[in-house]
């Protein structure tokens, strides 16, 4: 029985707009196992991105606990959470979110600046990550010189360069054409099968969801 990497227990989340409380997640309980590839699906407004954000530690739940690899992240302070994120999470966004003034190489290197690795060591890790995603030849180009698919690969390389516990992806293929989307999904699949990365992905693309082991659906803040 593979270990439970993420334990989400009775999570609720609400937002406040002026003085009105808007509930987004309602008493969610969920386990994610090590090496699992989970797809979170649901209609727009179902709270799937919110759940993803909570798992990734970029938002805090209103109620409940989230334990990742033994750590209750909801109880960490902001700076502790930041540190935790740098060691444990790799985030892939829908719109890539690369820093425009940095080259592909420098973008991938960015998370490593938070470590104490030497320049030579960092270079090794970056080159390795870029090779894994298949972008060895474009490393000194700027984002605006890359296609959408290439940008997303750089983003994935950035997400894996610190060898994080968990990869989190928010609509990774949302902005890509059919062929590039397929390539990205193949890559994510490989990361999961070959490199044993645990992946939690939000998507409403059924073809992307097919690659995952487990599919969970969210509707109006509840798991169905």
């Amino acid at each position: 029985m593979p270990n439970s990497l993420i334990q989400i227990q009775n999570i609720s989340k609400s937002y406040w707009r002026d003085s009105i409380e808007i509930p987004v997640l309602n008493d969610i309980t969920l386990d994610v196992h090590e090496g699992e590839f989970l797809a979170l699906m649901g209609p727009s407004g179902s709270g799937k991105t919110t759940l993803l954000n909570l798992i990734a530690g970029i938002d805090r739940p209103s109620k409940g606990t989230i334990t990742v690899n033994g750590t209750n992240i909801a109880s960490l302070s902001e700076s502790a959470l930041a540190k935790w994120r740098s060691h444990n999470i790799g985030f892939v966004f829908q719109f890539y979110n690369l820093i425009p003034v940095l080259t592909a190489f420098e973008n991938v290197e960015l998370p490593l600046l938070l470590t104490s690795l030497s320049k030579a060591n960092r270079r090794k890790h970056v080159e390795l990550a870029l090779n894994v995603v298949g972008l060895g030849d474009r490393i000194h180009h700027y984002p605006k010189q890359l296609s959408g698919g290439q940008e997303q690969r750089v983003a994935i390389a950035r997400a894996i360069v610190t060898d994080p516990t968990l990869l989190v992806a928010d609509e990774p293929t949302g902005d890509l054409d059919k062929r590039s989307a397929e390539e990205i999904m193949v890559l994510l699949d490989r990361l999961n099968q070959e490199y044993k990365k645990t992946i939690v992905m939000v998507t409403h693309d059924p073809r992307a969801a097919e690659r995952a082991h487990v599919q969970r659906h969210l509707d109006k803040g509840e798991l169905t």
Binding site: T50, N53, A56, I58, D59, E78, S79, A82, K83, W84, R85, S86, H87, I89, F91, F93, N97, I99, P100, V101, L102, E106, E109, L110, P111, L113, L114, R158
Partner: protein
Amino acid sequence: MRILKLILKNSLRHKLRTFLTILGMSIAVMAFGVLRTVVEMWYEGVEAAAPNRLITRHAVSFIFPLPYSYREQIAKVPGIETVSFANWFGGTYIDKNKFFARMAVDPETIFDVYPEFIIDAKELETFKRERNSCIVGYEIAKQYGFKIGDIIPLDGDIYPGKWEFVVRGIYKPRTQSTDATQMLFHFSAVDERMKVEMPGREGLIGWYIVKIKDPNQAGTISDQIDALYKNSSNATKTETERAFTQSFISGLNSLLAAMNFVSFVIIGIIMLVLGNTMIMSARERIQEYAVLKTLGFSGGHLIGLILGESLVISAFGAGLGLFLTYPVVATIAAIVPKGFFPYFFITPTTLILSATSALSIGLLASIFPIQRAIGTKIVDGLRHIG
């Protein structure tokens, strides 16, 4: 320090905007430097006054003359080394714009009480010997091309008539704060002529210059000199040269206060230009800062980035501004006739003030953007569309 590279790259993101910001800042820093220099030069005379020199003038105001006969009595006051005097001649050299100080003095003692006027011994000897000779300061000689042997014609006003003096020496200033724009000639030349042409006006000098042995005795000796003439019709007021110079400036207090106020406004302008830029940059990068936070960069890192960029820009702005201040000050010094501003140079205080102001602005201008970046929640930032 790879973060530095990110900072630099951020600054170069909008090259035009960064360039304009640096340019705007540098011009303001330069203006601040020039304005402060004008104010400082006025006060420099006060600073450069010798602590062991007293000025004895008429108690009513400096435009009233004192009898020449006071000299012997003053010399008897204990603690005094030398007593000399000067008389403001005024007059016009060619036209009113060619203004410089013209003084009728005692050739025997004047260079003793002003040791910072450096004069060649032979030139001094000639000057003492020839009654119609004069010695001019280096800066005036340079500006008007006076050479030894030249005749300087003056059109007198206080002492009416046409006068001519032969240049027999050129004195050099000991420091950059020494006035090298004076024209000195024999008091006896003026006095003799007054005896003949305007009887009743001879035997009167402008003020006494008293060199004392111990600067700490300045107060006591001043009181003693004034006590000699307290009840006479020409009472005196004796004070240190510093106080005397200061009293000339105090009339300009409102003007100087206005100029100081304006320097602060200049600082405000620098702040606005830089602040405006930083706010704009911050607004565009809210999403990016959220991404960095996602990657694990902490609030401290972001502060470093924003502050770093602000300081880099203000450092360049300050550097360029200071660099520009020198030629502007030099141009002003060259254009304004030497007699009005005998010296015009940038003091270390001005340099330090300019640099620190610019850098503190760099600090202040980043406060609002930092607040924004730290305060925005990651999820909001990711959603933000610049």
